[in-house]
Symmetry: C2
Subunit: 210 residues, 2 copies
């Protein structure tokens, strides 16, 4: 690799190369391996990735770059709120599905690497929660999800759509996931998600069944 003089562009090329090598080897790679594969000195590689963990973090950032762009675009759009919720999930789901179908083994590899380094993926999850909170506030301003705090609605929605956001769940049941079903789930949230005890849990707890 030849340095372009543009630091950001050089770094991005290195990260793209690191992903190719990771996929070929089927494991997380070190900065030393990347330097050797790129034909660069450790000094040059370390300038972009001062700590060993910085390389994998940069891979995570590149992996999630399109997802972040999708979320920003949907939140900024002027679609009706129910459509926004659907697009917020559907676009990312479709993108993940494409990546999965292109190469299920590589997809599984990144899932595994991501699971092992959950704290590094945390930043993306927090950002997704941030944007979802904005959408929930908009929905609540229009009367949806009544009697719930934003955080309560957030955790319930996250749990009810996890099949369409979790790469691990996609690995398990990809053949059962469809945009039509995601739409039905979003419709169900808008028609039915609210706070307060509405009958499922009951007053007598688990002992009620004899």
């Amino acid at each position: 690799m030849v340095a372009s003089g543009d630091t950001e562009q050089d770094k991005r090329q290195l990260v793209e190369l690191a992903m190719k090598v990771t996929e070929r080897r089927g494991e997380e790679i070190s900065r030393a391996t990347l330097a050797s594969e790129a034909g660069l000195s450790r000094t040059v590689v370390d300038r972009h990735f001062p700590e060993e963990g910085d390389l994998f973090n940069a891979i995570i950032d590149l992996w999630y770059e399109p997802d972040i762009a999708i979320m920003e675009e949907v939140v900024a759009s002027d679609l009706p709120i129910q459509r926004k919720f659907y697009e917020f999930y559907a676009r990312r789901y479709i993108r993940e599905r494409e990546r999965y179908e292109e190469d299920p083994q590589t997809f599984a590899l990144y899932c595994e690497l991501g699971s092992n380094r959950f704290e590094d993926v945390r930043g993306y999850i927090d950002l997704a929660d941030h944007y979802l909170s904005e959408l929930i506030a908009q929905a609540q301003a229009e009367g949806f999800f009544p009697d719930l705090s934003i955080n309560q609605a957030l955790t319930l929605i996250n749990q009810m759509v996890i099949a369409y956001t979790s790469p691990q769940v996609m690995l398990m049941i990809s053949h059962r996931l469809e945009e039509e079903k995601l739409a039905a789930i979003i419709d169900t949230l808008f028609a039915g998600l609210a706070g307060g005890d509405r009958g499922a849990k009951g007053v007598s707890g688990l002992r009620a069944v004899r």
Copy 2:
């Protein structure tokens, strides 16, 4: 181990021993290993498990035995249908959580073994689907989940409660799962799950966001 003369009881004791050995070794064990650990001849072990796969299948059966009892009990109960749905999930979730909290590593081991042998776990999932179909039919007779076939309702409900049924998801987000949230999800299903396009997907598809 000494044979009791009761074939079923002998087999059960062997399966319980096989689970202990599996947990100690952290991997699936063979019939040969079980025979050696039990101090029994291969002939005796093979009488209970004619094929190599029969041993792990018997472990799966024992693992799910309490879950099946829970489902049968709830389906046969005379609770209101919304309460039945909650108990159908909550009791199994609480049991799985207990197993997880007792020993997260062993729990993760069984998850891994189960993932590798998904076809063998399939029988339990099919049985759970069978009982859920019964509950859905009861709910629809009372006017819930309109304009959906039983199978459509089944797949949507399975996806919306997967956080409380999948051991793999429990491994990822156990700290975020709570009975109160499960109850809110069941209440949301009863208030909002229905068929037909109700606005999320829209007519213009993904291109609607610019």
